[in-house]
């Protein structure tokens, strides 16, 4: 019988304890996987939306802790931005989280400048685009269409005003697929924010370099007090929700590591105590102390590895389930990267190492004569 088989048999002999240890580890790992994939997905989805639009820089008010920068008068800075070198287009965007249907959770409602480049990346699935900047119609994302049960020609009531659904679109970003889009003029009138936007999107010409980008950022900082020019990645990184979800996922990793290590530690220590005589016999039979250490480590690793594998499956299932939850649909897009999943598996192995270290050393230091006397 080899060492691996011996360790496996030891775990089989105590199915309840082994099962509980694996469950505890898998729950911790599942929380890590689910929260981290959602945090990354949320960040990536917003970045994808900004990248898909072709926006090179976003100008906004210096961020507060609020999730959405407070609206400002576009005219205040739009002309000055348009005069900066390599700036091809400066277009406003207004965004609000609003109730679009009483049966569905609030959805993102975007107001985009009619005819601007922001619309270019959307693919029309059904219907038509708004005919002009003041037409009282909305475009509904493919996912929002499902959630809101609205199709082309239907009506939606937003903030007490009725809009006709002109068409259904699809975007590469899940955030936009779950949203409702109207022209900026309509959005401003709807939310009583005439002339206001949350963001000004800047598209640069093909000749713009990284240095030009840095120059524009610098100019905004110097000449437009209270405003900030950032890339979509920086904007998303500054978003309070992204920061909170990342902090939560980091905290979960820390807690899961501590709890997991303690669970393995406790299980292995109890197992060693119960098997003192058995270890004494093995030592008396000529087993090396290093072999005893290897045996305890193998058991600890098997527990944590199995817990890790189950946790990954459970976490992935949890994240996918949350994605399809009515309340979250169109708002999260969990991302599972292979390196991350391997890192999680590595984390579970670390749990085994940390948790098994002391019990393994304790077992190896037993004196055969003392161990055999143990009751």
């Amino acid at each position: 019988m080899n060492l691996f088989r011996f360790a496996l048999d030891n775990l089989y002999r105590r199915p309840a304890r082994s099962g509980l240890t694996v469950s505890a580890i898998s729950l911790g790992i599942a929380a890590v996987v689910a929260l981290t994939s959602i945090a990354w997905g949320f960040e990536a989805s917003w970045q994808k939306a900004n990248d898909a639009r072709g926006t090179d820089l976003i100008v906004t008010r210096i961020a507060s802790q609020n999730s959405m920068p407070s609206p400002f008068l576009a005219a205040k800075v739009q002309d000055a931005l348009g005069r900066l070198p390599h700036v091809k287009e400066v277009v406003g965007l207004l965004s609000e989280m609003l109730t679009v249907s009483e049966e569905a959770p609030p959805a993102f409602v975007f107001g985009w400048v009619y005819g601007s480049y922001l619309w270019d990346h959307l693919r029309l699935i059904d219907g038509r685009w708004p005919a002009d900047s003041d037409e009282p119609v909305v475009m509904v994302g493919s996912l929002a269409s499902e959630i809101l049960h609205r199709k082309t020609g239907d009506q939606v009531e937003i903030e007490g005003q009725v809009f006709k659904v002109a068409g259904i679109f699809e975007s590469s970003a899940v955030v936009e697929n779950g949203a409702v889009i109207m022209t900026l003029n309509r959005a401003q009138a709807l939310t009583d924010k005439p002339g206001k936007v949350n963001f000004l999107n800047i598209k640069l010409d093909a000749g713009a370099s990284e240095a030009d980008l840095a120059y524009i950022k610098d100019q905004v900082k110097k000449t437009m007090p209270g405003f900030l020019a950032i890339t979509s990645g920086e904007l998303v990184g500054n978003n309070a929700i992204v920061r909170i979800s990342k902090a939560m996922s980091n905290a979960t990793i820390l807690i899961a590591t501590l709890v997991g290590a303690l669970v393995v530690f406790n299980t292995m220590l109890m197992s060693i105590n119960e098997r003192t005589r058995e270890i004494g016999i093995l030592l008396a039979l000529g087993w090396q102390r290093a072999t005893i250490i290897k045996l305890v480590f193998t058991e600890a690793m098997l527990l944590s590895l199995l817990g890790g594998l189950l946790g990954i499956l459970l976490g992935a299932g949890l994240a996918v389930g949350l994605e399809h939850l009515e309340l979250m649909r169109g708002k999260i897009d969990a991302i599972f990267s292979i390196p991350f999943l391997f890192a999680v598996l590595g984390l579970s192995v670390l749990l085994g190492i940390f948790g098994g270290l002391y019990p393994a050393l304790k077992a190896s230091r037993l004196l055969p004569s003392a161990a055999l006397r143990h009751e």
Partner: protein, 254 residues
């Protein structure tokens, strides 16, 4: 003894830094000051028997200057509240004049103590006129929802005021009352307003209520949640035209 003196000297600046009652009332008064704001809110009313009313949305715009304070509230949805407007103003003297209307040319006067949209929302409370009252007294500090606050009692003898005494537990650093209790002349509790969630204002040192629960004497609970807002709202010239129309109307025409 020497150590005690040193300790007292160390804490002296802190004691000095804590504002007195009048100073705190003044700070709260200043915190209200705005040339224009707008906020949209979801409102849910729960009756004492636990029955929920139909949730509704309202929009509030206002400006609070030293000489005049004005507010306008209108229903957004559903149909039962849509198009119903309330406008009110308070001048330096502290008296609040309020009107209701559907179109600004047909206004009717309303009591500023009246409950809006069958909820516990009261126009008078929204002006928080008690910060102007002459009698302000500091009471003990408290913790509300895990946040430290200082209780300040504001009282008045003005006969036509339904509310005669107000106890506000103020988070001094955020310039926000976390809990406000309003009492009548017989010290009977009229309403309690408790802030559940806050949002940072553009001035990062100040906060505003995002979620608020109002419980009135009959046990009606009104939950208010702000879902959209603008701290630099530009008030249109005709936003408070209804108040002017009411002022121009002869008493018999009202």
């Amino acid at each position: 003894m020497k150590r005690l003196l040193v300790l007292l000297m160390c804490f002296a600046p802190l004691c000095h830094a804590a504002p007195g009652a009048d100073e705190l009332a003044g700070l709260m008064q200043q915190a209200k000051s705005t040339s224009g704001f707008s906020a949209r809110m979801n409102v849910l009313v729960t009756r004492p028997d636990g029955a929920h009313g139909t949730p509704f949305k309202i929009a509030v715009i206002g400006r609070f200057r030293a000489d005049k304070q004005q507010l306008r509230i209108n229903g957004i949805s559903p149909d039962s509240v849509r198009g119903r407007f309330f406008a009110a103003e308070s001048a330096r003297a502290g008296e609040i004049r309020a009107v209701s209307y559907r179109t600004p040319d047909k206004v009717s006067g309303v009591d500023s103590d009246a409950h809006l949209f069958d909820s516990s929302l009261v126009l008078w409370d929204m002006f928080s006129p008690w910060w102007n009252w002459r009698r302000q007294a500091l009471l003990a500090g408290e913790r509300i929802n895990g946040r430290e606050c200082v209780t300040i009692r504001s009282s008045t003898d003005v006969k036509n005021s339904t509310v005669r005494e107000v106890e506000s537990c103020v988070d001094v650093s955020a310039r926000l009352s976390l809990r406000t209790r309003l009492y009548d002349a017989h010290h009977a509790l009229l309403r309690t307003l408790v802030v559940g969630k806050t949002i940072q204002k553009a001035d990062p040192s100040m906060q505003a209520a995002k979620k608020l629960t109002i419980t009135d004497a009959e046990g009606v609970v009104t939950q208010v949640e702000v879902y959209s807002g603008d701290e630099q709202y530009q008030i249109a010239d005709d936003a408070f035209a209804a108040l002017d129309a009411d002022r121009d109307q002869k008493p018999g025409e009202r």
